[in-house]
Symmetry: C2
Subunit: 201 residues, 2 copies
Amino acid sequence: MYPIITISREFGSGGHSIGEAVAKELNIPLYDSVIVDKTAEEIGFTRETVSQDGEYISPSQAWYSSRIAYRANFPSPQDRIFDTQREVILSLAAKGPCVIVGRCADYILDNTPYTTLNVFIHADKEYRKAHVLERYGESDVPIEKRLKKKDKGRRAYYRYYTDREWGDSANYHINLDSGYLGEMVCVDIITSVARRMDSQK
Amino acid sequence: MYPIITISREFGSGGHSIGEAVAKELNIPLYDSVIVDKTAEEIGFTRETVSQDGEYISPSQAWYSSRIAYRANFPSPQDRIFDTQREVILSLAAKGPCVIVGRCADYILDNTPYTTLNVFIHADKEYRKAHVLERYGESDVPIEKRLKKKDKGRRAYYRYYTDREWGDSANYHINLDSGYLGEMVCVDIITSVARRMDSQK
């Protein structure tokens, strides 16, 4: 059986497209927006709130909530989103092999019976800037700032909810520089490892 | 042409054997002890001194030498080893594609005309402990402590001479968990990427 492939990615690294191509290649589902939809439905928040607060956290929010007692007794809306999102991810994982992009899935599926392949996709800033502009176009905010803000929010979110360091190789089985290697090579590496894991079990 | 493959590795992760297998598979030289030999010869230190001081640094040494002015004016024997080792690595790189294990080769070859593939091999502690005991056997020092000391020394050395974080995915093109994936899979990933880079140029 294929593993559950979790893909964490720096903003603009092409991690999402890589996840899509891997899912297509292996003919397994990709879960991204469906996680947001299901979480929003369960908890009664809008898609936008879940989409934003389910992957990003502001430094002030992280500081506030870092007092564990505070968090346990007064879960913030963001804590409730995390918990619901966690349940959604676990229920999707129970359905079988899939690709899950972002949302701390690597951490959430740790110490569960599921076999995972945890991947982190990164690239240098110039590559990511060009990629973001190509995909989403210009906005009022300068590209440098957009990149920084997204990375910072994801990093803080990951650290806050997992107590681990985002992008630290210790937390992933494979980290790939998509800018240097190219997206196609990343897809090939991930699918070939997944196929090997499949043939071994 | 194949890239120059640099392999950085946690102690006991099997990074050295992976490097050997990659070199054999691609039929290119592996440079490890030859770097020590050549550096020792150039600088007139023993092999043991170069082997130890060319990859490990003690926290007190790092603290002392961290004052840049101090280092520039009074290079320590260790600084001289680094500089000589750097020259040796550059002269070996000039000979063509090869595999270089450790010794900040990824950093040293950065911003040179050489095309590199920078790999970091890591694994969880249990795997590495078992691997070290199997390879080197027991010693007077408990295995946990041996692992910690080696990792700490390499990390400090890398940070001191490169100003980068050892194992941080931003510094490598590929990071692989050899304990989870298996050494053979790591070898296959590295060789297949090298072959692709070869066919593209």
